[in-house]
């Protein structure tokens, strides 16, 4: 996958998640879509050479601000709007699995078992480093994201 194709693909996914976040009738679905948009933007920052900014983006917006939004939605009772908990759970798990599969496919297609220093592209170096030295961290991270989405969906389903 070339760099241009990757940037177009990530941009399209970001715009799609933002459209879901802005034009969804249910605030909980907007929150989940916004979480994915923030995470994707952090991935963009990491891919294009600044892992610190990407990490700060994910920690701040995907973590702290999403929890703040969740707290405000629970406080203001917007969860009484009613959501399809089963569909949301399935959608969240499917989205997390798709994200993990895409990451895995990209890493597997670009590595081929060589050492990270052989890659001139900084994005491949970052992924190669993660895949060589931190594969379990990636797996745990994806599992934690999926569990968090299921927990959010369960919180809303208990309110309704």
């Amino acid at each position: 996958m070339t760099s241009e194709l990757l940037s177009v693909f990530i941009s399209a996914v970001i715009v799609a998640t933002v459209l879901v976040a802005l034009f969804s009738d249910r605030v909980s679905i907007s929150l989940i879509a916004l979480f994915y948009a923030s995470t994707l933007l952090g991935i963009v920052f990491t891919l294009y050479g600044n892992a610190l900014v990407g990490l700060m983006q994910i920690v701040t917006f995907s973590g702290a601000v999403s929890v703040l939004f969740l707290t405000v939605i629970l406080l203001t009772g917007e969860s009484k709007l009613g959501i399809g908990a089963t569909r949301v759970t399935v959608a969240a798990v499917a989205a997390a699995l798709a994200l993990a599969a895409l990451t895995f496919a990209y890493v597997a297609s670009g590595l081929g078992g060589a050492s990270p220093s052989e890659y001139p592209d900084i994005s491949l170096q970052t992924f190669a480093f993660l895949w060589e030295f931190r594969p379990w961290d990636l797996l745990i991270l994806v599992t934690v994201f999926a569990s968090a989405m299921v927990t959010v969906a369960n919180l809303f389903s208990r309110e309704t």
Partner: protein, 109 residues
């Protein structure tokens, strides 16, 4: 890398436009804050993409502040502003019992 820059600049501009449009028509204050976050994401993406073309060019030479430093600063300031906005939303809901801006405007008079 130049085409990446153009793609991300376009995406950032599109996100800013979508966010401002959603702020203007939103009927829920929480959705308004979410739209503000979308504007912030677009601005950060556009700012970050503007630094993709050059090398390690220091914008402020004394401290070597790069574009990434400003993106970092923008993320932190944006998160703080959103926190204050959400606190205001909670207080407005406690006082007026609704999050619809037009209803709040009617209740004030």
């Amino acid at each position: 890398m130049a085409s990446d820059q153009i793609v991300f600049l376009f995406t950032g501009g599109l996100l800013v436009f979508l966010g401002i449009a959603s702020i203007s028509y939103s009927k829920n204050l929480v959705k308004t804050v979410m739209a503000f976050q979308v504007v912030l994401l677009g601005a950060n993406l556009a700012l970050f993409s503007s630094g993709l073309s050059g090398g390690d060019s220091c914008l402020v030479t004394d401290f070597c502040l790069t574009i990434d430093s400003f993106v970092f600063l923008s993320i932190l300031v944006g998160a703080a502003v959103e926190s204050v906005g959400l606190a205001i939303v909670v207080n407005v809901y406690r006082k007026y019992g609704t999050l619809n801006p037009s209803e709040i405007r009617k209740l004030r008079h």
